[in-house]
């Protein structure tokens, strides 16, 4: 499956990565090269094969419903949460105003 400039532009938009027309020019052949190459998977007979769900057999463990049981996974750490924020405002994360 080949991609053209329009498709790459659309994917870049979905991925929220701004691309200039110049970037696009360069990307299209690169991506096509890679995508053409991975196409080969289509030739594998996968009849009756389930997609891999767990690499190494393991079961999903559920945890107890205890608030802040582990300080590393609990809340009440607002300062830490905001410590690296580009625009922290009165305890909130500030972002450009959104109009819904």
């Amino acid at each position: 499956m080949s991609v053209d400039t329009a498709t790459v532009a659309k994917i870049a938009s979905l991925a929220r990565i701004k691309v200039t027309p110049g970037d696009l020019e360069a990307m299209v052949p690169e991506l096509n090269g890679i995508l053409d190459w991975v196409e080969q998977l289509g030739e594998v007979d996968v009849t009756g094969v389930e997609p891999m769900t767990a690499v190494i057999p393991n079961t999903l463990r559920l945890r107890e419903d205890i608030t802040n049981a582990d300080p590393l996974t609990g809340g009440g750490i607002r300062d830490a949460v905001l410590a690296n924020a580009p625009a922290a405002e009165h305890g909130f994360f500030g972002v450009p105003k959104v109009i819904e």
Binding site: M1, V3, T7, V8, I11, A12, S13, L14, A15, R16, I17, K18, V19, M27, E30, L31, G33, I34, L35, W37, V38, E39, Q40, L41, G42, V44, V46, V49, E50, P51, M52, V55, I56, P57, N58, L60, R61, R63, D70, L72, T73, I77, A80, V81, A83, N84, A85, P86, A87, F93, V95, P96, K97, V98
Partner: protein
């Protein structure tokens, strides 16, 4: 007195414990070596000599007070800059995390500090662990300490754990952490003549490690010897309740059970890995390895891993897909770079930030990942890849009914020059021998086997059954004992 920086991890551990030298002496020696090499190799993004000294001081004090010492007491290490270190910048070698100082410590690094190790600094890597040459870092390429004789061309240390491999090989750190998603511990270890092991998926916790591809990422040690790797892996591994994919199994005492005696063991040689046009020297190294393992008492068995040739394509669909989603959080809202052009709205801020913050290879993989998951293509690419992955895992399962470990080359070539591989696809092809074990979640290690005619290291790879790191380490030890690899890069920096 021995040059402290020539010591192995084990040598340092034993020397400190035995009082031959102090931890502070060790830390000081390595701090010096790090500083000396930084400009030339650029192995570190951030150096933390004070932290190394502080950890050493504590060990010395504990020892003086007769307190019990941890498994790695007095060993200073390099930490790949993918592990969150509290209060110390963690960048994943990307501009998008420049200046990010985590308020938390990754599980694996915490375990290392608890074991008495010290932090020499955060090691450079391919950006977001995506790469095989450490050329995609936003903080500059890493130059391998190895050079071809009479040639000053800068060589790649491998990737993505290129800072780790360069630092260990150059003896500016005795050991380093790496992560391996498609070969990022094993291949750089092979390129620089050191040892490195990727454990069974789930053996080491991924909590606090910047995620690249969740179903593939694994942390592991990189050091000079198999024993070093065993010691360090013991300290790094273990169940973590904060990681739902973590294995709830006790950590075996790998060091104690190390043995190069492979009597009764069967080694599988996968015929599909003898690819068309396989580099003659790599092939020769492989054959040598087979002979060594036979010598160690193993029976050599020819095996087939029929779907091997599809492993790379499978990997380069699954890993980018997972990465495209894992990297969505880097958006300039809560941490890291924010690029807010005049008048930009929220979505425009995202697009500008990510364009400015991500390097080319990262963008490439995010786009591929986004594409293969997108409507209309999901089944053809992603679902198909997940099914082929099942087949690849089954190939290994079948093989392990006949053999205990598998021997293969780690990489199809020795180190190439920086700047040599400009085509991304070309770079991906170098992962041909390492991705299958990643896809199947199997423990796999690389040990140095010898030098090629260019005077550059070649590595051999041992792949084992799930949870059988011991089998892998033992086979690695058998090779190490017979390979007699003692070559060191000449110090040109």
């Amino acid at each position: 007195m021995t040059n402290l920086t020539d010591l192995t991890l084990t040598g340092i551990r034993d020397g400190v414990a035995g009082g031959d030298f102090t931890a502070t002496e060790v830390a000081t020696a390595f701090n010096g070596a790090v500083a000396e090499a930084q400009e030339a190799l650029n192995a570190f993004i951030v150096t933390t000599p004070e932290a190394a000294l502080a950890a050493a001081a504590k060990v010395d004090a504990d020892r003086a007070a007769g307190k019990p010492l941890g498994k790695l007491a007095g060993v200073p290490i390099g930490m790949k800059d993918l592990f969150a270190t509290k209060g110390v910048q963690t960048t994943a070698a990307s501009k998008i995390l420049e200046g990010f100082k985590p308020e938390y410590e990754s599980t694996v690094s915490q375990k290392l500090w608890d074991a008495g190790a010290g932090l020499l600094g955060k090691l450079n890597l391919d950006q977001f662990a995506m790469g095989s040459s450490n050329e995609s870092s936003a903080y500059g390429k890493v130059t391998s300490p190895w050079r071809r004789p009479n040639d000053t061309a800068a060589l790649a240390p491998g990737g993505s754990s290129g800072g780790s491999s360069a630092a260990v090989a150059a003896r500016i750190v005795p050991a380093a952490t790496g992560t391996d998603t498609g070969g990022s511990i094993r291949q750089p270890a092979a390129f620089t003549g050191i040892s490195g092991i990727k454990p069974t998926y789930g053996r080491c916790s991924r909590w606090g490690i910047v995620a690249f591809a969740s179903s593939l990422d694994q942390a592991g040690p990189m050091a000079h010897t198999v024993q070093d790797c065993a010691v360090m892996l013991e300290a790094m591994a273990g169940f973590d309740a904060k990681d739902a994919t973590s294995l709830d199994m006790p950590v075996p005492n790998w060091e104690a059970a190390l043995s190069g005696d492979l009597k009764g063991k069967k080694v599988g040689i996968p015929r599909e890995y003898r690819i068309d046009g396989l580099n003659a020297e790599v092939a020769k190294s492989w054959d040598e390895g087979i002979a060594w393992l036979k010598d160690a008492g193993a029976e050599v068995v020819d095996i087939s891993l029929p779907h091997s040739k599809y492993a790379l394509a499978t990997y380069y669909i699954i890993a980018p897909a997972e990465a495209s989603s894992n990297l969505a959080r880097y958006d300039g809202v809560r941490y890291g770079l924010r690029d807010l052009p005049d008048g930009a709205n929220l979505q425009e801020m995202y697009a500008a930030t990510r364009a400015a913050g991500f390097g080319d290879e990262v963008k490439r993989r995010i786009l591929i990942g986004t594409y293969v998951l997108s409507a209309g293509f999901y089944d053809a690419y992603y679902t198909q890849a997940q099914k082929v992955r099942t087949l690849i895992a089954r190939d290994f399962e079948e093989a392990f009914k006949q053999v205990d470990v598998i021997l293969a080359p780690t990489a199809p070539t020795s180190a190439f020059a920086l700047g040599e591989k400009t085509n991304p696809l070309d770079m991906y092809l170098g992962d041909v021998f390492s991705v299958p074990a990643s896809l199947a979640g199997l423990p796999a290690m690389s040990v140095p086997a010898g030098l090629d005619s260019q005077g550059l290291p070649l590595g051999l790879q041992i792949i084992g059954r799930p949870f059988d790191e011991q089998g892998v380490l033992n086979a690695g030890l058998a090779i190490e004992q017979r390979a007699g690899f003692s070559a060191k890069p000449e110090k040109w920096w």
